[in-house]
């Protein structure tokens, strides 16, 4: 059963300049109820790895450096 990968515009945006995940912070990753925020192996910063968002906002509310913005998923806008 062959598979394909499709791209998806994700709702959560992390500002790499402000994100301190490379210094060990895991706040947004820890609080996400759907576990869709992970470390980007290339940058060491947090990013949204899976487009499975409830736009619930703990990631944005709890981020210590205001690096996270939750947008409404495109299909709902």
């Amino acid at each position: 059963m062959p598979i394909a990968s499709q791209i998806s515009m994700v709702p959560v945006v992390v500002d790499d300049e402000k994100c301190i995940a490379d210094k060990g912070c895991r706040t947004c990753i820890d609080v996400c109820p759907l576990d869709v925020l992970w470390i980007n192996e290339d940058t060491g910063k947090a990013h949204m790895k899976y487009d499975e968002c409830w736009y619930c906002m703990p990631c944005e509310a709890d981020c210590p450096t205001d690096a996270v913005t939750v947008n409404i998923p495109y299909l709902l806008r």
Binding site: M1, C32, P33, E52, Y55, V70
Partner: protein
């Protein structure tokens, strides 16, 4: 037989599955009851921000506060709103614990709105009584619960999805098998008593937006507990009484009539006219909502544009900082301003949720399921219309009773052959080289649910829907996951799949219509109290098939007057 080293076994007195609302209360209560007991709270996400109230809650929808209502009044109202099909003793146990729980939460630092004399500022939203207590600063409730969990030294295990319950030779529950969502490791928690608090089954239907995770419920609440209970042999009840809610269109969050109603907001048709007498969520109210949407006077709207500026600001403060705070962002994106435009509403996808309707794993007034040692609380368990406060009260009841049960029990034996077979089944999608992605499998299940199982319910449609679902059983052996996260989704998708079949089987069993839109069965349009004044219990039969049976309604503890019984049948505003 012994278990291999890669399966860790942890022994616990009381295991609580699900750390959202009921779960933390059950775990805290267990420790309060017996500080020496070992208590574990197992959570698929992170207890700090998990479950339906991850961003707090804007009010209590069912506060039974002396001076405003008595427990008997509340039991009556909920009985009438559910067309009589309730375990009244269960509703009464909630009602009697309601005020004590409010005071407990108040002491813990949860802020409830008070009037100028310092009394709780109760609002009327229900059809008959007064039960709504606003919590304009309710955004910090998870933090308060978390502090309590730490203080009582509850063991917290985050990022593990419980997948199957374990039972001993006598048929009592003996723990669960769970999957690590980050590393795909398998763990076994051996427990003397288990409290399930896994939330609603909110991913059965597909939201109108088509976005799999744009559900009304927190999508992590996908029916894990319903599926686990079913496979363990527990009875579920009222699954034909779907949860369907009136929501902001596309955003799919509450509108929210309980916040705006007491301040003058209401549900209106496209002409701006009120068409329902009462915005409290019931099947009868949803039926009128559906009729208005379909009847040429839709869309339906939340109307606030007639309110004063300071009232609008108050509403915005509550709605845009609590429970679903991204609401404001959604409105901004579309240029919707409560001051100048009505807000389009729609009806949600179907789900199972005792918090708002009456469906779930059967529990009695002690929180006991039909499996010894297994308890259930919150949106997953069957006490109707329990909302957040009901989850806390039943969390407490289950915490007390599970602790007692555990005290009287030896460490149970494990069924190792079952555990090994489950490990292989759970991990199988990760071992394949390719196959069906969980998202495609789940989309198909939920699209079939929308096409064939949503009300109005029609036998022929439900027959086709169930047949199409059953044809997907073979697809399970082709599910494919590339990593631990996709494996989590693959297991969730199977629970969603179980729940979809439960919706069809239970709906076709009850050959009448009841609860307004929730069980609007076109082939049987009338309510048949002669035959169907009973619960419908769904269970796994001796052939491993999904079966139903009736269960008589226990004698009422609060009798209804004849004239009260139809109060919820008269929802439509009469023409003047």
């Amino acid at each position: 037989m012994t278990l291999p080293d890669d399966i860790t076994v942890t022994d616990i007195d009381v295991l609580v599955i699900g750390g959202g609302t009921a779960g933390p209360m059950a775990a805290i209560t267990a420790k309060e009851q017996n500080p020496n007991a070992s208590v574990m709270l197992l959570e698929k996400a992170n207890v700090k921000r998990s479950g339906a109230i991850s961003m707090g809650m804007d009010g209590l929808n069912n506060a039974v506060v002396p001076g405003h209502s008595e427990p008997e009044d509340y039991v009556k109202e909920i009985t009438i709103a559910n067309d009589g099909i309730v375990l009244q003793k269960g509703v009464m146990a909630y009602a009697q614990g309601s005020f004590d729980m409010i005071q407990k939460l108040d002491q813990w630092g949860v802020y409830f709105q008070k009037d100028e004399t310092g009394e709780y500022d109760m609002k009327k939203v229900h059809h008959l009584g007064t039960y709504v207590l606003p919590m304009p600063e309710g955004h910090n409730i998870k933090k308060i619960l978390y502090r309590r969990l730490r203080r009582h030294r509850v063991t917290i295990e985050n990022r593990y999805q419980a997948i199957r319950l374990l039972k001993d030779k006598d048929g009592s529950v003996s723990g669960c098998i769970a999957l690590g969502t980050r590393d795909a490791d398998i763990i076994v928690i051996r427990a003397k008593a288990v409290v399930m608090c896994t939330g609603a089954a909110g991913r059965i239907g597909l939201p109108a937006s088509g976005y799999l995770f744009g559900t009304y419920e927190n999508p992590s609440n996908c029916g894990d507990g319903h599926s686990m209970a079913y496979h363990a042999g527990a009875e579920l009840t009222g699954l034909e009484c779907y949860q369907i809610n009136p929501l902001l269109k596309d955003y799919n969050g509450p509108a929210c009539a309980y916040v705006t109603g007491p301040l003058g907001g209401y549900t209106a048709n496209s002409q701006g006219d009120r068409f329902i007498e009462c915005d409290y969520w019931s099947g009868q109210m949803m039926m009128e909502f559906y009729n208005e949407l379909q009847g040429g006077k839709g869309p339906v709207f939340l109307k606030l544009d007639h309110l004063a500026e300071e009232t609008i600001q108050e509403i915005e403060h509550v709605l845009h900082t609590n429970e679903r705070p991204s609401r404001g962002r959604f409105h901004d994106g579309r240029g919707t301003d409560y001051r100048t435009s009505m807000v389009e509403m729609h009806i949600s996808e179907i789900g199972f949720c005792a918090g708002h309707s009456a469906s779930g794993v059967w529990v009695n007034e002690k929180g006991e399921t039909t499996i010894p040692g297994l308890y259930g609380a919150g949106d997953m368990a069957s006490i109707p219309h329990s909302y957040m406060l009901g989850a806390f009260v039943y969390g407490q009841i289950c915490g007390e009773n599970a602790t007692q049960y555990a005290l009287e029990r030896e460490i149970p034996e494990l069924d190792e052959a079952f555990i090994l077979a489950e490990r292989d089944r759970i991990l199988a999608p990760l071992k394949r080289a390719d196959g069906i992605p969980p998202s495609q499998f789940e989309y198909k299940v939920r699209r079939l649910v929308n096409d064939y199982l949503q009300p109005p319910k029609v036998t022929k449609k439900m027959d086709i829907g169930l047949a199409r679902l059953k044809a997907m059983v073979d697809d399970i052996q082709h599910l494919y996951a590339r990593d631990a996260h996709e494996l989590l989704r693959a297991n969730e998708a199977q629970h969603v799949f179980d729940c979809a079949q439960m919706a069809a089987v239970a709906s076709m069993y009850r050959t009448e219509s009841r609860w307004g839109l929730y069980h609007n069965y076109v082939d049987y349009p009338l309510t048949d109290n002669e035959k169907w004044f009973c619960h419908v219990q769904l269970f796994k039969d001796e052939h491993d098939e999904m079966s139903c049976k009736t269960k008589p309604i226990d004698p009422y503890v609060v009798e209804l007057d004849e004239h009260e019984k139809n109060a919820y049948q008269q929802m439509r505003v009469q023409a003047v």
